[in-house]
């Protein structure tokens, strides 16, 4: 699982995660951010690192199955 939780008791709707996500994983409805495209998360942690309220948790497991070299 990639980006997994947004803790809405902490989230201040600053939208920093939405602004910076390289994969455009988040969506926004009425200034509330949500995880719109979880399968595209690449576990880069930028959203979690930059969240000023510590409201995001990213799980390191890959979001999509990929073929291995062997």
């Amino acid at each position: 699982m990639p980006v997994k939780n947004i803790d809405y008791t902490r989230c201040s709707s600053c939208l920093r995660c939405y602004k910076i996500c390289p994969m455009d994983v988040f969506g926004v409805v009425s200034r509330q951010v949500y995880i719109a495209w979880q399968q595209d998360c690449m576990c880069c942690y930028l959203c979690e690192i930059e969240c000023p309220e510590d409201a995001i948790y990213v799980d390191p497991q890959r979001s999509q199955l990929k073929p291995f070299p062997w």
């Binding site: 602004k19 910076i20 390289p22 455009d24």
Partner: protein
């Protein structure tokens, strides 16, 4: 122009258009703006958090003014297996220090620490991967990109974000603009410019490894489609990563004592590169791993248990994401070895791209490239660690400056009727997948492409049969499956075009590897296991004519250092 405005939502004009806002793009934008040019910098993501740059894993090669440049030159060229453009190596050695110090100073003015300094205020330098006489400095990625973003803004660069650029526009043979689609509004953008600089990275195929999955090769694809020459795609690269998670920073880790082990616990890289063992170049590491597995000595592990406590602390500081990921898996990589695999990264970093001269100019007038989008001419195959990041600064700065000089001599662009018609067909191509209700998703096609490119007999231990088979399968995907891709949302529509781009670059890579009839760098051919300095001191070149790949090889000059004209085994 009125016709245009009916077709595209936004038309914007400038002197110098920069496609891609990583380190190379920002440097290009800053240098062009400093020459009083009106600059627009466009990125698919948020400038400073897009592409490879924010994940640059700390290693950077900087030749100091008092370093022995001849020795560095020799190390870079011999370890780049003579595929380097030697004039570019000279430029790299001459300009890396100035660009890095310049960036570091900009950072300081903004309160950011870009290059890591020791307690005496000296830049920290280490022996990293591949280094013998050369050394590797340490850089903080996020302060680096934040500095470049802020500096770009401060010198008046106009930034346009979340626009995926897709089609390069030529007029009378010159590059005059790029078409794109906004990833969040779906509005189309046409940027017209007197000079165009492509700095939007390479194509990483959304494969393993951290941070590069929005790099799907659109810049290289759009250039190739209009006849720009690409070079060194045969040197499509791989790094390596944990089997379970995507982690970067290997150059630093092996520099601090990390080792590759096979299933027998043997540090097998000593067999393939006795001088440096696990610090071997990536070209050797990934083929070495595949050879071990092929010989029944897999799986492969990476072992950090010998790293000193001080260096553990530094690694955690420089690479917080990776170590955070290990922690969440309940793994302490300094206490236990971790299963490791090669991570195919295509044309990212030093894996080939636009052919260019020392002014960063392509074969198309007005079209420049820098950073990963270019053929990274300083590296050769893969010489030493951190060379590419400095190269992004240097080539970015040069591309911006030379593009500005070109732009100053050009008239404003007035688009021809023919081009207006062409743009209409481009927009149809872009939105085509949204008009279908069913078919194949971009993710499905992406998986099928990776399933062709990643298996080790195609990616590492190659021969004519495996490569031809892969090429045939990619062409089948292009002919049969690409037309079936559908998008049920704007987000999927963006991915649909990314997939088109990845297929084209994938085809160009495999065709380029197949073309090289020897082993050199990332090309290890079981059927041609010798490095051939008699007949193959050549760059493999590729372009497209009428949407078909055209491929050839070009002899290249070795003005300062020539290899002995002989053939020898790669291992």
């Amino acid at each position: 122009m009125n016709g245009l405005k009916k077709m595209v939502n936004h038309v914007e004009s400038c002197d110098v258009l920069i496609a891609g806002g990583g380190t190379a793009g920002c440097f290009a934008a800053i240098k062009a703006a400093e020459k009083n040019q009106k600059v627009i910098l466009v990125d698919k993501g948020y400038i400073g958090r897009s592409g490879c740059s924010p994940f640059a894993a700390g290693a950077i090669n900087i030749c100091y003014p008092d370093d022995d440049k001849d020795r560095w030159f020799e190390e870079i060229v011999t370890r780049g297996e003579y595929l380097n453009d030697q004039e570019w190596v000279k430029i790299q050695l001459a300009e890396a220090y100035d660009r890095n110090v310049e960036l570091h100073k900009w950072g300081k003015a903004y309160g950011k620490k870009v290059l890591v300094e020791d307690e005496n205020g000296e830049f920290v330098r280490r022996q990293g991967r591949g280094n013998i006489h050369t050394r590797t400095n340490v850089i903080n990625a996020l302060p680096m990109v934040d500095t470049l973003r802020r500096k770009s803004r401060d010198v008046g660069v106009k930034m346009v974000e979340r626009v995926m650029l897709t089609h390069l526009i030529l007029q009378e043979g010159r590059a005059v603009g790029i078409l794109g689609l906004h990833c969040r509004t779906g509005e189309s953008y046409l940027f017209l410019a007197k000079a165009v600089v492509l700095t939007a990275g390479g194509c990483g195929f959304k494969s393993f490894f951290i941070g590069h999955r929005n790099l799907t090769g659109e810049a290289q694809y759009m250039a190739m489609r209009v006849g720009a020459h690409l070079r060194n795609l045969d040197q499509a690269m791989s790094n390596s990563t944990s089997k379970d998670i995507d982690i970067h920073g290997l150059s630093l880790m092996v520099g601090f004592g990390g080792r590759f082990l096979n299933a027998d616990g043997e540090e097998f890289m000593l067999r393939y590169d006795p001088q440096v063992g696990s610090r071997a170049r990536l070209t050797r590491v990934v083929v070495g791993m595949a050879k071990e597995v092929d010989a029944g000595r897999g799986p492969i592990y990476f072992d950090l248990t010998q790293v000193t406590p001080d260096d553990q602390k530094l690694l955690r500081h420089i690479l917080p994401e990776g170590f955070r990921a290990f922690e969440r898996l309940g793994v302490n990589p300094f206490k236990q070895k971790n299963e490791w695999i090669p991570a195919f990264e295509g044309t990212l970093i030093h894996g080939g791209g636009l052919h260019m001269d020392t002014t960063c100019a392509s074969n198309i007038p007005g079209l420049y490239s820098a950073g990963d989008t270019s053929c990274t001419p300083e590296h050769g195959t893969w010489s030493i660690t951190g060379l590419n990041l400095s190269f992004c600064f240097i080539s970015g700065a040069r591309a911006g400056s030379f593009a500005a000089d070109w732009a100053m001599q050009q008239e404003d662009v007035k688009l021809s009727k023919e081009n207006e018609a062409l743009i209409r067909t481009y927009i149809e191509e872009l939105i085509g997948p949204a008009k279908k209700n069913s078919g194949i998703t971009p993710d499905q096609l992406n998986y099928e492409l990776l399933d062709i490119l990643i298996p080790y007999r195609v990616a590492y231990l190659r021969d004519e049969t495996s490569l031809q088979g892969a090429l045939d399968r990619i062409r089948l995907l292009m002919d049969d499956k690409l037309p079936q891709v559908y998008a049920k949302s704007l987000h999927e529509l963006i991915k649909a075009f990314e997939t088109r781009s990845m297929l084209a670059i994938g085809e160009a890579i495999v065709a380029s590897v197949l073309y090289r009839k020897e082993s050199r760098g990332f090309v290890y051919r079981k059927d041609y296991p010798l490095t051939d300095n008699v007949d193959w001191l050549k760059w493999v070149m590729v372009t497209m004519e009428n949407e078909k790949i055209k491929i050839w090889a070009e002899d290249f000059p070795t003005p300062y250092l020539s290899p002995p004209r002989e053939k020898y085994p790669i291992f």
